[in-house]
Structure formats: structure tokens, C-alpha cells
Amino acid sequence: MDVKGRNFARFLDRQQVYDNQHDAGAAGKQHAKGKLTAWERLDILFDEDTFEEIDAYVTADRTDTGFGKVKQAFGDGVNIGHGLIRGRLVFAYAQDFTVMGGSLGSVHAAKIMKIQDMALKMGAPMIGLIDSGGARIQEGVASLAGYAGIFYRNVQSSGVIPQISVILGPAAGGAVYSPAITDFVFMTNQTSYMFVTGPNVVKEVLNEDVTFNDLGGAGIHSKKSGVAHMVHEDEENTLLGVRQILSYLPSNNMENPPEMELSEDETKDMEEKLRDIVPDDANKPYDVKEVINLLVDKRSFYEISENYAQNLVIGFARLNGKVIGIVANQPKVLAGTLDINSSTKGARFIRFCDAFNVSLLILEDVPGFLPGIDQEHDGIIRHGAKMLYAFADSTVPRITVILRKSYGGAYCVMNSKNLGGDFNFAWPTAEIAVMGPEGAVAIIYRKELEASEDPVAMKKELVARYRTEIANPYIADERGFIDEVIDPAFTRQKLIRAFEALENKFMNNPARKHGNIPL
């Protein structure tokens, strides 16, 4: 076929073959699993007509490996390229399950590495859409080397550009470690799985029957393991979720996150409801998310890992249009105590915010660490230390508001003044002390209580006294450990001004290769 007298036959033929690869038959196979095809996914993820594919026509380098055949197909089971998301440059790869089950061979891996390198060079976010049976067994060590190359680039990019993994099918064996290194993992309910060893191996080794879903489904990873940060019901919403989280993130670690205009029906600067949320009864729970939603710009709170370690709430939000990261104790769950899972969940989020110039807001209502043999034996000491380390090591602006309880070691951990908190506020309902009233009275007045005729009444009286004299925010305020005790109704206004004052915060930490975070 001629185009203006030139022979473009081969060019057009190739295009024809490529298009046939994406025909209804191939799509039907994916749809029959309740899944979309790689190209349909890229279509939803990117702004309309902005995705530019590269390396579409590469093929596997050897078709006969001596151990089974490799199907020769354009692209070798992965689409890579760049496009725009809400007008911003983003790089992505999407594994194509219709070509050899999306298995990772050496060319497939090389393509992913190529796009990773480009994203890092350009300082733009990198998104992986994962739907792959794992390493291509026929290619042997070459595919393993491919995985290692991908992991290496994930690590090099960590803290430089945001990396997001979207699990839309299986991710098994070595394949799971790339998502594990990236900043956020999205999964789709019912059709995505992640595990290091699959149900068959579990059955072989341990003789235990377990389904794909129960071993590594979206539910398990969002509630139990904490591997998945966001789970959606279907692929469209999952991909729209990726677009949404990107609106909170800068393209790289040199930029600040994008800003957004306030809506007309914006949150008021004075909010009287905040005065009533914390109950008078110190043991009564409340939902800290109510506090968050009244403080930040309307509908801007984007919670992360909602169903994992629910005693600590983390997420992004906008305050006066600017992005902040929120770390809040949740009194509704386990009384808001810190445990192993919540500490690691919080620490990783703080590290992300610090790396990408997201200021931190800490809402504190913590009675202490969760007591228990399990917690101690599983290492709450070293895990709790992660959160402490992450706060102390971060150089972004950080502001703490103590809503109610702030006791003992947990007081120190939750971004206390001497841990480098820039502004530490407290509500009048705050109780700051080394321990709660009951515990303190039992220790200090042990002998008196033993000698008393009516120890119950005496203890009650002492507890009441402790509450009024010790467990309040005023001692800390007068000694400078709190910058100000504030009216809850005006918290939003205070925070906006405080974050404005901290906008150009700069800290000169000592030069070093890197610190040694207790992992």
C-alpha cells in the first residue's frame, strides 16, 4: 500500500498485527475473568487521548528456550509509556495478561526498567498496573534478573518520585516485592491477589487448604497484612482512585504538592461543634474522623489504610487548599492505644510525607501503648521506635494538637515538642501526664491506700484530685512544652496560620549517608 507514493506496507502491516493482538477475542478472555484489558485500563487511568505507548513492537528475544516455547507477540506482555493525569506527566506500565499470562521475561522486564529509568530522569510519578502470572519459567534466570533490576530501580526512585502499584490480577512470588517497595498499593476486590507462595505450595508444604482470596485477596491485605493501602470494588474505581491520590502528591521531591481552590461551601473558620466532640467522660470513645472532617477543607480528607490498624488514622487532606498529612489516634478503636501495626502504619506514612514535602498534622488522644504479652514479645519496642524515629527525622513542618489523653511514652512519640514539633497545641480537654489517674494514684499512694479504712472512696478522691491538679494542659503550657492551649472552635484558623508561618521551614540535619531506622 502506498502513501503519497511511498511504500508504507510494512509499517501498516505491523500495525495491523498489533491491532489484531488487541481484538475482541483477547479482550473477551480478560472480561470473562471480570477484568479489563491492559489498554482499557490505561484508557481509564490517563486523561483522554494523552497516553503515548513506546516499545509497542518489541518481542521476546528467543522463542525456543529449550524448555518450552515462548509466544512471539508484540510488546511481550507489557505496555509502557507516558501520558497526562489531570494535565501532569506520569509514566506507567501495564502488564497484559492476554500474552503468556503477563509473565515476566527478560524483554518484558527490560521494558519496565526502561520506563522506570525515564520516570526517574524526568521527575514524574511512576505507576505500575500489575496483572501477571509471575516469572516466565521458560526464560529461567533471565526473568529473575529482570525482577531484580525492577526492584533496584524501585529503590533508587524511592523518595524521589511517587511510585504507585495497582494490583489488578495475580501478583505472585518475586513480583510482590516491587509493589511492597512502592509508596502506595491499590487492589481491586475479588480479582486481585498477592502472595509470596501460592495456595498450592501451602497445601504441599503445610497440608492446609486455603483459597486465593483468603491467602492474599484484597480483603486480607487491606485489613490483616496492611500491604494494600486502598481497595476498591471494581477496576474503574480503583484507577479513578489512583488519579485522586495523585492530586495530593507532588511530581517529585523537589516540588510541593499541587494546591486547590476552596469550594464555595467551605468549612467555616470557626466551628463550635468541635467544642462538643470530646466527651466529658475521659473513658468514652468518639470518632476522631469527625474532628478531622471539621478541621480540613470540606470532603478533602483522603484516608489511607482505612481498614488496617484502625486505632491510628492516617491520610492526606487539604487545609486552606494546601496538602497536609494527618496522623491521628482513634479513640474509637482500642481506646486509641499505639500497637505494633499502628506504629509501622504511622511511621511509613510520616516517611512518605517527609520525603515529598507534605506538612504533618498530628491529632493526639493516646492513653499509651497497648499492653500485652503478644505485643511485647512481637517487638513493640522496636516497632514503636519506628514512629518515634520517623517523626524526629522528618524536616517538614509538623504541628500537634492534643485533643485529650497524652500519657507517658506515647506522649513523647506523638510528635512532642522535644521531638521537634514546630507547634504543639492543646485543647482545654487535654490530659498530659506520665500516666493515667488510676495508675498514678495506685503507685504514689500505695501505702496510704493500704492503710485506709475505705480505700475505694479514698482512691476516688485522689483520682479526682489528680485529674484537676495534674492531668490537664496548663502545667505543660506554663512550662513551655505546649505552645498554646486553644479553643477547639478556632483550631482550623490556628492551624492555617501556623502552617503558613512554617512554609519555608528549613532544617540542617547532620550530613550522613542515611540514618539507621530501627527496621
Binding site: 472480561h31 470473562a32 471480570g34 477484568k35 479489563l36 481509564i44 486523561d47 483522554e48 487521548d49 494523552t50 497526562l84 489531570r86 494535565g87 501532569r88 506527566l89 475479588q190 480479582t191 483459597t211 480483603g219 485489613k223 490483616k224 476498591h232 470494588e233 471494581d234 477496576e235 474503574e236 474505581n237 470513645p285 481498614n307 488496617y308 490498624a309 484502625q310 474509637k332 478503636v333 482500642l334
Partner: protein, 178 residues
């Protein structure tokens, strides 16, 4: 790089009721419904006291959003609530497909409706349970809540033990339907 954002997606949405009835809306943002072959406008209003209502064919319907989580909604109209999942044409197809498949898998999980502590297990592995039968007592917010089975079947496995703390949506046990 500040190219103009163009994102045109299918605007058609389907609200699927809990009784599996599908309501289709071609352009919901345009606030009109095709009703008996005619286009009828819907007005969304808020009165000065902060009540939301819908005006539909010159009649007022009080509106309240009881629950909203991703694409799951519980909407109250005139005091009666209705539950929906909002689907796109693609996600609806997927949902129908997975439902079909799900029918063959007969094991369902019972999850904690709220975070709390397991006070008592009322069933053992292998026990037969009826729909609506209480199976676990969960203490949350100082109240004891009976968690009951939403299916009839046999308890296949129990994932928690007495005095365990559970988070919302943690799996408590699995029941084999039958």
C-alpha cells in the same frame, strides 16, 4: 506540560438496589430523569434550616444520606431508606459476572460490624446455624452486641477466640452455605 485536561468518560451510571433492581441514568449531573418516555427535571434543594429535599413533579421529598462509602450508598427518602451500589456499565458487567461465579462458591465470611472485643462464641466449628441466629457476642463501646449469621449453613472455621480484639470488617468466621 500544562496541556488542557480532557477526560471524557461514559457518564452513564447505574444505581443497583439491594433487591438487585437497576436504575439507569444517562447523565445524572444534568438532573433530569427519563420517566415514562419523557424527560422530567429533578430539583435538589436545601431549606434555610439545613434540610435537603428533592422536588419531583411538584412534590417535595425529604432527603438524607445515611451512609456513603466509595460507591455504596444508603439514601433515606421521606423516612424510608434504600441501599444502592453505583455502577458504571463496565463495573456492572463485572459485578454480574462475579455474582454468577460467586454462586458456585458456597463459603461466606461473617465480619465484625464494628471494632471491639469478642466476649463469647456461641457456636463451634461444625455447628449448624440458621439465618439470623446469633453466633458471636462482641463488646463495643461498652455494649454487648450479638452478631448473627446472615446465611444458613455449617460453621466451617472460626478465626477468632474469646477475648480477642477485632477491627471493623475483620473476618470472625466462615460458614458453608447449605
Amino acid at each position: 506540560m500544562a496541556r488542557e485536561v480532557k477526560k471524557k468518560k461514559s457518564t452513564k451510571l447505574i444505581a443497583l438496589s439491594s433487591a438487585n433492581k437497576a436504575y439507569e441514568f444517562n447523565k445524572p449531573l444534568e438532573k433530569s430523569i427519563k420517566y415514562q418516555g419523557k424527560k422530567v427535571d429533578i430539583k435538589l434543594r436545601e431549606d434555610p434550616n439545613g434540610f435537603s429535599y428533592i422536588v419531583w413533579k411538584n412534590k417535595k421529598y425529604m432527603l438524607d444520606v445515611i451512609e456513603k462509602n466509595q460507591n455504596r450508598y444508603t439514601i433515606m427518602i421521606n423516612g424510608v431508606w434504600h441501599s444502592f451500589t453505583v455502577e458504571t456499565p463496565i463495573s456492572l458487567k463485572r459485578r454480574r459476572f462475579l455474582e454468577q461465579q460467586g454462586e458456585s462458591s458456597s463459603v461466606v465470611s461473617i465480619e465484625a460490624p464494628m471494632p471491639g472485643k469478642i466476649i463469647d462464641l456461641l457456636v463451634e466449628e461444625g455447628a449448624e446455624v440458621k439465618q439470623g441466629e446469633p453466633i458471636i457476642i462482641l463488646e463495643a463501646m461498652k455494649m454487648q452486641n450479638e452478631i448473627s449469621s446472615h446465611v444458613t449453613g455449617v460453621v466451617q472455621s472460626i478465626s477468632v477466640k474469646k477475648n480477642d480484639s477485632v477491627m471493623k470488617d475483620d473476618v470472625l468466621l466462615y460458614i458453608r452455605k447449605g
